[in-house]
Amino acid sequence: MKGVVFDIQRFALLDGPGIRTTVFLKGCPLHCDWCHNPESQRLSPQLMYNREKCRLCLECLRVCPHDVHRFDSDRHDINYENCRQCGQCVEACVYGALTLSGREMDVDEIMHIVHQDRVYYEESGGGLTISGGEPMLQYGFTAELLRAAHHNHIHTCLDTSGYAPQEHYREIVGDIDLVLFDYKYFDADSHFKMTGQSNSLLLQNLEFLYHNGPGIILRCPLVPGINDTVEHLSSIAGLAVQYPQLLAVDILPYHDMGRDKASRAGKEYRIPAGVVPDGNMKKKWLEQLFSLGCNKARIV
């Protein structure tokens, strides 16, 4: 079985315990305003253009059969609509300005890479993390990867938004050791505005996963002025009370590095510039959560 993968990071240290290999799967049913992997949202491979690296050599124009590249008075514009992801311009671009995000890989190919770091997992208590995108969108592929890893006694971790049919989680829950479960906002309407989906399904799945095996770390992205409201922080603390066995409550402070990738993927990025939280703000969030009784909170 093949899946569309847009990155594999070895020696990942922040996607679960120990030293891990994180496999990023393409495609996401949400489109959060602050998404830091905006190139992952679409399921199919995607052309990325880095203006800083472009030397206007016109090689891409020469090889492209689909009229994607336009040059106008020292400016290179991309018509993303026309792109069929054939990769010819990427191959021709020696400056690395054009890349293709996402390619089809099969389970064996990925597991071969995962296996290369097996000794590191053993020494560190690490393993495989599947992230995205939303890995449950390519649910069948995710299930096979998890099964293959578990079969080989490799620790597995799923980084999910929780937005998938519950029966999908039910089928794979036996092969997951740890879930990094996103929690973005408490209020269903606002959640819809921020992400394009309501949060009710997510909360049902959290309930399900919590009672069915794997350890869970709640991962809460906080964007100043967008979702760092008192009500939301209270609801995070509330979840920690409701689910006392949560392993941790991780606060993921907003960072700005998705902006550049959005522009390279030809996507709109809606978070205004200049809202990156400073150290004081992160400390304040943590103090608020502690004062609300959420002592498992930590900044990652």
Partner: protein, 742 residues
């Protein structure tokens, strides 16, 4: 002016035709005591040395009977000598240019060797291979010294002497004993100095220290030491006088003295640390640049518990004394006292680089195989200098040849011509236009390597032979197996295993170049080999696109089989061929070393642009490291690549690893796991650096060389090199200075 040099020269001339042992002894008499330095204000031990412009030494002053011509001329000019004095200096130079050991070695080269190695000037001339003149890497039997004492060793020599009737051997033994008496004399001389200083000293504490120095020197001049302080004094002073630059398995020879004094309440821990700190400072002040190794830990120490206690003290001294030397070296194995490892990690995390780490579980069997010796001997493997391995006081393995492998490829691509100078170089291996497949090119490269390695092995053998004919190296012969027993000097049949080593540079550049050539020329057929070589000769001028394509080809250091297999192939060829030279020479072993110093930069300056994308003049890669900025797959992939070339066919390879400071602060358990996994998988060695402010400046200038820097954000997918410049700068700043992640 130059009194020592003149007296030395007169003495040498007077004894010129005497037995080499007798002559050498007389020359020591001319050098000592004038080369010895005063006891300085904070020294707890006597012994400092500075070598004259003309003298005798294995390496530190020069090779054998040496002259430092440039330095001597410079000093003469600075002192504005009159015409008569200048004439004397010129006479000295004229005499020694003919008579020094180095000249005699070069004169002994057969025609073939002289043709392959036409120059000795490796730091400025363009060339493939050069000889180095030195006897580097001596490691003395300090335990014998400390547990037998000066008089005990004289007694031992007496016994051998009375059993032989061979006149030559009698000269040798007699000189050995007299050398030890010279050493005793040096002890008494320093004792006298310390005593006079004590009498004049007004500070009571310092007076007491100086009195102790006096008493200890008078005692060890004859007797085996009884205390920790005496043991340090004897071993230190003997190292200086013998001219060795590395200080042995210190925990093995000082551990028992240390534990004895502590447990009997003779000294406190504070006093012991103060002594070691003083020794560390003395070692640092000697400024040997590439040496000063102190080895601790590892298998084969019969007094392991005591040795480990000393090793912890040594680690503490290294934490406190922030100098480049000693180059503290920790050997370890599975099952060793974990305190040593833990302490080492803490110190490394502070950015000290030391201790360098050596994995016995890999290296003991690897050394046994590479050197063809048994395991018991291999347990006493000792890295010295930049990372060459010898066997403690049983083997010599002086690195007396250097070869620039990338230059070998360059000369091959020009069919026996150096494109930098336009002069013929090496052998003609065929016109590259005729290489219709990659294997033909590879075979030509191999032939060129073999041509040089054969001559380098012969050169090493000659260098030892001439050294052995000219000098006996008395102080080292006394403490080297089996010189006394055999009645033979170090390089004239005395040392048990007389081996040699060859420093190779540019190994990774060659492998990456060959990978790129195979891909672009023979697989993708982007250009022909002559076309590519023309672009290299033009230093890529007008062909930047080809350079970028070459850079895009697989590179060593990413756990990529294509690139790594090529490195292994290059590595195995040069290592195995070099190792085979022991069959053609009298050397017990002749082995490659892949080490770290500045030779990669020196050679880079005269090496044309290469097919790995490197431009003319840029440094070659260092040690066994990937090219700068080319390891893009993370630390686990890098380490997986590093363990692929076999450690069992050479005499040492150095692995420089660099981690950002946050790895030691925020990710310490993962870092330790990373290293443990590396060593478990066959990692032999690691020298761990912490990214420092100097790197920051470099990274700002050349971000493309810092592709290995990581962006640590949970669930975020991006490589450092892909980020906009402003963000790159922020990340560099953050990973260097603060713990606060984005």
């Amino acid at each position: 002016m130059f009194e020592t040099e003149k007296i030395f020269t007169q003495t040498y001339i007077k004894y010129r035709n005497e037995h080499p042992a007798t002559r050498e002894l007389a020359c020591y008499g001319a050098m000592y005591p004038s080369v010895l330095g005063e006891i300085q204000e904070h020294d707890l031990f006597a012994g400092r040395i500075s070598y004259p412009y003309i003298g005798f030494s294995p390496e530190p002053g020069g090779f054998g009977y040496y002259i430092q011509k440039e330095e001597l001329l410079k000093a003469a000019q600075e002192n504005e000598l009159d015409a008569e004095e200048m004439r004397e200096v010129n006479n000295l130079i004229a005499f020694w240019e003919n008579e020094c050991t180095k000249t005699k070695v070069r004169a002994a080269y057969p025609q073939q060797t002289a043709r392959a190695l036409p120059s000795d000037n490796w730091t400025s001339e363009s060339g493939v291979a050069f000889p180095l003149y030195r006897l580097a890497g001596g490691y003395l039997d300090y335990r014998k010294l400390l547990f037998t004492g000066i008089s005990g060793i004289i007694y031992e020599i007496d016994n051998y002497e009375s059993a032989t009737g061979d006149v030559d051997t009698l000269y040798f033994y007699s000189a050995l004993k007299n050398a030890l008496r010279v050493f005793s004399g040096i002890c008494y001389l320093y004792a006298g100095k310390a005593n006079r200083m004590a009498l004049l000293c007004k500070d009571e504490k310092r007076k007491k220290e100086l009195t102790t120095i006096t008493d200890n020197l008078e005692f060890i001049a004859v007797n085996p030491p009884k205390t920790f302080a005496q043991a340090i004094q004897l071993s230190w002073l003997y190292s200086l006088v013998s001219g060795v630059l590395n200080y042995g398995r210190m925990d093995y020879y000082l551990g028992d003295f240390y534990v004895h004094d502590i447990d009997k309440g003779i000294i406190t821990e504070e006093q012991a640390l103060a002594m070691l700190t003083s020794l560390w400072q003395l070692i640092a002040d000697r400024k040997t640049v590439f040496n000063g190794r102190v080895i601790i830990g590892g298998k084969g120490r019969k007094n392991e518990k005591n040795a480990d206690r000393f090793a912890l003290l040594a680690l503490q001294a290294t934490q406190d004394v922030k100098e480049i030397e000693p180059q503290l070296t920790l050997r370890f194995y599975n099952g060793q006292n974990p305190l040593l490892w833990e302490k080492a990690m803490t110190i490394i995390g502070q950015g000290r680089t030391y201790p360098m780490l050596y994995n016995d579980d890999v290296l003991v069997p690897a050394v046994a195989k590479a050197f063809a010796i048994d395991k018991a001997d291999a347990e006493h493997y000792m890295p010295f200098g930049c990372g060459e391995i010898v066997i403690n006081h049983k083997s010599y393995g002086s690195p007396n040849g250097v070869i620039n492998l990338l230059k070998v490829l360059e000369v091959t691509l020009h069919n026996g011509c150096d494109p930098v100078t336009g002069m013929p170089m090496g052998i003609k291996t065929g016109d590259i236009a005729g290489f219709t497949d990659f294997e033909q090119l590879f075979a030509a490269y191999q032939m060129q390597v073999e041509y040089y390695v054969e001559q380098l092995a012969i050169q090493e053998e000659i260098e030892y032979r001439i050294a052995g004919e000219n000098a006996v190296f008395l102080f080292q012969s006394i403490l080297y197996d089996d010189c006394i027993k055999r009645g033979k000097s170090l390089f004239a049949g005395g040392v048990r295993y007389l081996g040699g080593t060859l420093e190779t540079y540019g190994n990774t550049n060659v492998a990456d170049s060959l990978t790129a050539i195979r891909q672009l020329v023979y697989e993708k057929k982007e250009c022909t080999l002559p076309q590519l070589v023309a672009m290299l000769d033009a230093n890529f001028a007008g062909h930047e696109n080809i350079r970028l394509k070459l850079l895009k080809a697989p590179k060593y250091g990413n756990d990529d089989a294509v690139a790594d297999d090529m490195l292994v192939r290059v590595h195995e060829h040069v290592c195995n061929f070099t190792r085979q030279q022991k069959q053609k020479t009298a050397l017990h072993s002749y082995l490659v070393v892949v080490i770290n110093n500045w030779a990669n930069t020196i050679f880079g300056r005269v090496t044309a642009a290469s097919a790995d994308g490197r431009r003319y003049g840029e440094s070659l890669t260092n040690g066994n490291a990937p090219a700068d900025g080319c390891d893009l797959n993370g630390a686990t992939a890098l380490l997986n690549s590093l363990v692929k070339p076999s450690p069992a066919i050479h005499a040492g390879a150095v692995q420089n690893l660099k981690f950002s400071r946050e790895m030691f602060t925020d990710f310490r358990p993962q870092l330790e796991a990373l290293l443990k996994a590396y060593f478990r998988q066959g990692g032999a060695q690691a020298m761990i650096n912490v990214v420092n402010p100097g790197d920051l400046e470099n990274a700002m200038r050349e971000p493309e060389k810092y592709g290995h820097l990581f962006v640590r954000v949970g669930g975020f997918s991006a490589r450092f090199v892909e980020l906009p410049g402003q963000v790159q700068r922020e990340i560099i700043n953050r990973t260097l200075y603060t713990k606060d992640r984005v």
